[in-house]
Symmetry: C2
Subunit: 473 residues, 2 copies
Amino acid sequence: MSDPFVVIGGDAAGLSAASKCKREDPDREVVVYEQSEWISYAHCGMPYYIKGEVERLDNLLSLSPAEVAERGIDLHRGHEVVDIDPESQTVSVQGPDEAFEQPYGDLLVATGARALTAPIEGTDLDDVFTMHHMDSAAAVRAFLTPPDSEEGFDAGYADVTEVVEEYRNRDPPETVAIVGGGYVGVEMAEAFRARGLETHLYQRSERPVPPFGEAVGDRVVDSLAEAGVDLHLDTAVESLAGEGRLERVEATDGAVDVDLALVGIGIRPNTDLVADHVECGDSGAITTDDYGRTSVDGVYAAGDCAEMRHTVTGTQEWVPLGLTANRAGRAIGQTVAGDPEPVGAIAGTAVLKAFELECGRTGIVDDDSAREAGFDPLSETVTAGSRSGYYPGNAETTVTLVADRETGRLLGGTIAGEDRAAIRIDTVATALEGGLTVSELERLDLAYAPPFSPVWDPVLVAAKVLGGRLDDT
Amino acid sequence: MSDPFVVIGGDAAGLSAASKCKREDPDREVVVYEQSEWISYAHCGMPYYIKGEVERLDNLLSLSPAEVAERGIDLHRGHEVVDIDPESQTVSVQGPDEAFEQPYGDLLVATGARALTAPIEGTDLDDVFTMHHMDSAAAVRAFLTPPDSEEGFDAGYADVTEVVEEYRNRDPPETVAIVGGGYVGVEMAEAFRARGLETHLYQRSERPVPPFGEAVGDRVVDSLAEAGVDLHLDTAVESLAGEGRLERVEATDGAVDVDLALVGIGIRPNTDLVADHVECGDSGAITTDDYGRTSVDGVYAAGDCAEMRHTVTGTQEWVPLGLTANRAGRAIGQTVAGDPEPVGAIAGTAVLKAFELECGRTGIVDDDSAREAGFDPLSETVTAGSRSGYYPGNAETTVTLVADRETGRLLGGTIAGEDRAAIRIDTVATALEGGLTVSELERLDLAYAPPFSPVWDPVLVAAKVLGGRLDDT
């Protein structure tokens, strides 16, 4: 029996695993199958490419196929794994020209996630996009770019000529709709407004970015409104309508004529291939243990298709994010090379730029989620300065912390502000990993100097107030 | 016997304690004696006041005597405590008009620190300053301000007319010397250069800011040189020379004619008053326990005159910094009000702005100190990006981490870079409080989004590299 390490998926998790395994055990055969032409691209950078802040499409590529080859990895693009057989330890591969069986010693499923479009009608119309592939990024930027500009479409090893040409020949849009006020929606609003477009953002619930909680959501609303985004909150989009090409958005608050729609209503894990073989959680993503192992011997999963242990709840949860994919992939690469390394836990730490507003969240950020996880939550929101009050650039920073009433343990928090707010969430994330109580957080010896922070960092102010309330209960 | 809470010193620690005690126990008599006319001023803001970024002198005052009185605190400025008698629980007070005995129930010694000038000769010359009092800040800014400008000298409740008038009437300096490349020296270099002065900075050792370690020191050297500061490293100042007024600096590398000298070669705790009564450490500062209690019953100490327990070594150390003073004062105020609260530990977390360069340090940052504290250190320095490589504003960030070889425990670290580097030290400070190992640090779920951080935050990159070396040993 052959012993290669076979990886399904050539993005963050897959190539981190392949690279680490090869580095630790250069003699091991490492084979990667990637369905598309693209590998190792920065999904999170696409809105900034469309905005124009990132100049060229190939700036978003972190590893080329040639670099992967140099690492001794046997990479096959345009190859889809269509079946797996854990019994015989083989996968069935469909290449561009031929189908074949690939035996494996260890298998990593790193199939990622796909952008959701249901239940919105009309998402198959022309000029309707999701933001989950390099081709969409190229198409949207081509659509937005004035016809006389030639920059930005160098795609390195892959070919986007067709999609770019098609969209360069259309009249640039003037009015756009964003369906969904999550990360992608908010970041794309910045991109569209930067290009001077009338931008309508639709969000079903009362506030955008629900995973960031109410206090951050309120500040994001203000930030979007101030930037001239037409907000349609508490509004469901019923359909995208048109004849072949998109013409208008029909929503519960009426219809708006638009030239482009961006649908960002969530993603789902790609697990069709393995769902019959390995255990999946309620989220639909693959259940994994502390070493990224699935329920089947020799089969690992990592990245956007996998659940991981949550730092605070200790249970398996699905929080598809970039660092998680890279870290789990790297750990699995080391493990299959013979030196077992835990994949670590996820706290769901995330940061978001909403125009000038910086937002962060980590752990459990609202009382309902805390109760569901079995805690008796107490939470507090404060607004405090980001620097000494007398120092220029001091900005109002809103911090929410959630704790367990019984133990005083910190469960999570959020932050929003225009001055270095995002990076401050790392203090809370680190405190979660350390299992700190609110009193311990309150006594942290954090940095203070007028240009960077007030004597009491906003996170400490929130901890003091929440600590006081915990003492009283 | 009377039961008042008596506080010696009306700055950060003293007034934090007085305020907290009064808030928790409004009936308690709280008396504060402050030797000078100033209370509760932002020492750390002085360089930025002199630079002109902070407009007025009174912007640096965080609490006025009237506000202190409103809190029900009995504040006496211009009152020096000249003796204490723990037997009879009284202090002897010298006021402007009379001397008297003040009985106490609890006593807090918050006498702060003073700027060191020895062994430099000539520091008593005119136009030689230290930067430890509001009067010096007013004098230096007056000296630097062109005679036709009237702004900036509003001092609120205190009177600086005399010193301001005196220095406004002198010709502004053109060439200045800074003796000592610590925090104050580096921050004042920024202030002087912003005002266009030829600025000579003298540092006895090879690099400025020794507590930040070698890697940061090297970057500070580059930053100062790039900003046009004349650096005299490895150079001892022998004397400041002149007839009445300063004329030149005489150093081991020769003499330079200067119009102003700023001496920032360190501070010493003010403990003359209590040194015969309470136990002091090797640093000369007062030894305290986890509740800020000294060796004498009913006598507490906090702020720049006190030692505290170090997060990493567990021993008493003297690290005089702003947050420490505020936090310890506040905790002691709560304790004496009947609800004991630990003062917390210090990790020596500090941040510094050296022109555009942001620097941070926390815990033990070099191998020698780690060995002295009984550890077997391994350290690593890396330079990594502050944001995704393709995103504008990505800046090289240098991180050093120190760990204990045997346990893998993180002992401390430093950081330097131009893009949000300072705040990132809080991740390391929080990890120290949580007692994290380098492997745990490496697996932290930190924030990632292209505008704020690369997938692997520079702190995580350093942890990965150091973790790899720990695994190999």
